[in-house]
């Protein structure tokens, strides 16, 4: 068992092992997502306050959860890479950044779509959406810094520092934006929570949350394999692989 983890840390074995998992993950993820969407869009009852427009929440809420979760993973992987000089951790960190940014972007878009019928405008400076917007910039900063540094090992370590600094700042930013929002928006309650935690609404939400996690795992493994090939391109096993195909 320990040997398995030790092997997983080596880029060469990771490439092979991840390659085997990906098809299964893809199938599982698609099935779960279809089931979750079916439950959410068709089976779950109409909300007495918001009608059917609330259903976008089944995409919006898991996206928002994932946007934060992926940032934590990115910062954690970055820290592991920094402390233990583990190349694979560095690869996971940078592979996660565009995925997290996409989830954040999806949360923003679906948030705007959800908000339009309620507020009449595509964007009002709601606390959660504003915090998501700032999170998007944190992700874009990581991606920009990585691409600006030529030596990829240095780049990976630099974004690890940036991600850790970001992680420390995220609670502060969230708190300050919530605080700002209560001062300026008055007592309007944001409807971004599940309207009422009806079990028939909660279950699809949780299914979608798991499906999104699987999606993240699937895509990060795919991206990480590409990044591993890129960083190990002078290694013998990569040359053999390329020559075989």
């Amino acid at each position: 068992m320990l040997r398995f983890f030790h092997q997983l840390g080596s880029p060469k074995h990771f490439y092979r092992i991840a390659g085997r998992w990906i098809p299964w993950l893809a199938v599982l993820c698609v099935l779960l997502m279809l089931y979750g969407l079916y439950q959410g869009m068709v089976v779950a009852p109409t909300d007495y306050q918001q009608g059917d427009s609330y259903r976008i929440m089944f995409i919006h809420v898991p996206s928002a959860w994932m946007s934060l979760f992926v940032y934590m993973v990115m910062a954690g992987a970055g820290a592991v890479g920094l402390i233990w000089h583990m190349k694979l951790a560095e690869v996971i960190a940078i592979s996660s950044a565009p995925i997290g940014a996409s989830f954040t972007f999806l949360a923003l878009i679906t948030g705007a779509i959800w908000g339009k019928p309620m507020w009449g405008a595509w964007w009002v400076w709601d606390a959660r959406l504003t915090a998501e917007l700032i999170l998007l910039f944190l992700y874009l900063g990581v991606m920009a810094l990585y691409s600006a540094i030529e030596d990829k090992r240095t780049a990976a370590r630099a974004i690890a520092i940036l991600a850790i600094v970001g992680v420390v700042n995220i609670p502060i930013i969230h708190y300050s934006v919530e605080w700002w929002n209560t001062l300026h928006q008055g007592p309007t309650v944001t409807k971004f929570d599940a309207p009422s935690i009806d079990l028939r609404m909660l279950i699809p939400l949780l299914i979608m949350a798991v499906a999104f996690k699987l999606f993240y795992l699937l895509v990060v493994l795919m991206r990480a394999r590409v990044e591993v090939l890129e960083r190990e391109r002078n290694a013998q096993w990569v040359n053999e692989l390329v020559n075989k195909s």
Partner: protein
């Protein structure tokens, strides 16, 4: 007895392995002379010896302890003059050396006037470094070696910008340092004239 030991050092830059499996022991009175073509990794190796750059393999130990664990405690024993002088143009020669001394382990036996005398910059104490010639600025940078109590001097092309007289001054500084039990790690295109017996030569060209 102080000793710098390298075991299986490796260095990768731009996905190319510059060197690997490099080992040596540097003791008191010894000189490490790095030779090799431009781009062969001499500067990178010196930066690893300084503790500025992590090696891509192997370990570097000072008196048996890894230099990256020692951190500032290792740095207290070294002094480095690289490609760039590390001299502030807006400060005078004296002010530059005051700062250099405060950043290292100060050598109380040599005061700043002595150091300037030894590199033949007497009278330039209060001249802003900007007004010194390139050779004089280089000598000022090298004066840094004298105001700290460093056992190991690490130098990257120290003779840049120096005329033959300047080279002579610096070579005698090196000779005195080594004779007193100090250590030297140096790259140079110029032929460093030192006692042959105590030189460890490493050629990094493939």
């Amino acid at each position: 007895m102080s000793c710098l030991e390298a075991r299986d050092l490796g260095c990768i830059r731009d996905d190319r392995s510059l060197f690997e499996g490099l080992s040596f022991r540097l003791g008191p009175g010894q000189v490490l002379l790095l030779e090799g073509r431009n781009g062969s990794g001499k500067t990178s190796l010196l930066r690893i010896l300084c503790g500025m750059r992590q090696p891509d393999g192997g370990a570097l130990e000072w008196n048996g302890e890894d230099i990256f664990d020692l951190g500032p405690d290792y740095h207290a024993h070294i002094a480095y003059v690289g490609h760039r002088d590390g001299v502030k143009h807006d400060l005078t020669a004296r002010e530059n050396l005051t700062v250099a001394r405060g950043l290292g382990a100060p050598n109380t036996a040599v005061d700043i006037e002595d150091a300037l005398d030894q590199v033949e910059l007497w009278g330039f104490d209060d001249v802003p470094a900007r007004n010194l010639s390139a050779g004089q600025q280089r000598r000022l940078a090298l004066a840094r070696l004298l105001v700290t109590r460093a056992d190991l001097w690490i130098l990257d092309e120290p003779f840049t910008s120096l005329d033959s007289h300047g080279i002579g001054i610096v070579e005698s500084l090196f000779a005195n340092h080594v004779a007193a039990g100090g250590m030297l790690a140096v790259t140079s295109h110029h032929c460093v004239s030192l006692n042959d017996n105590d030189i460890i030569r490493i050629n990094l060209s493939p």
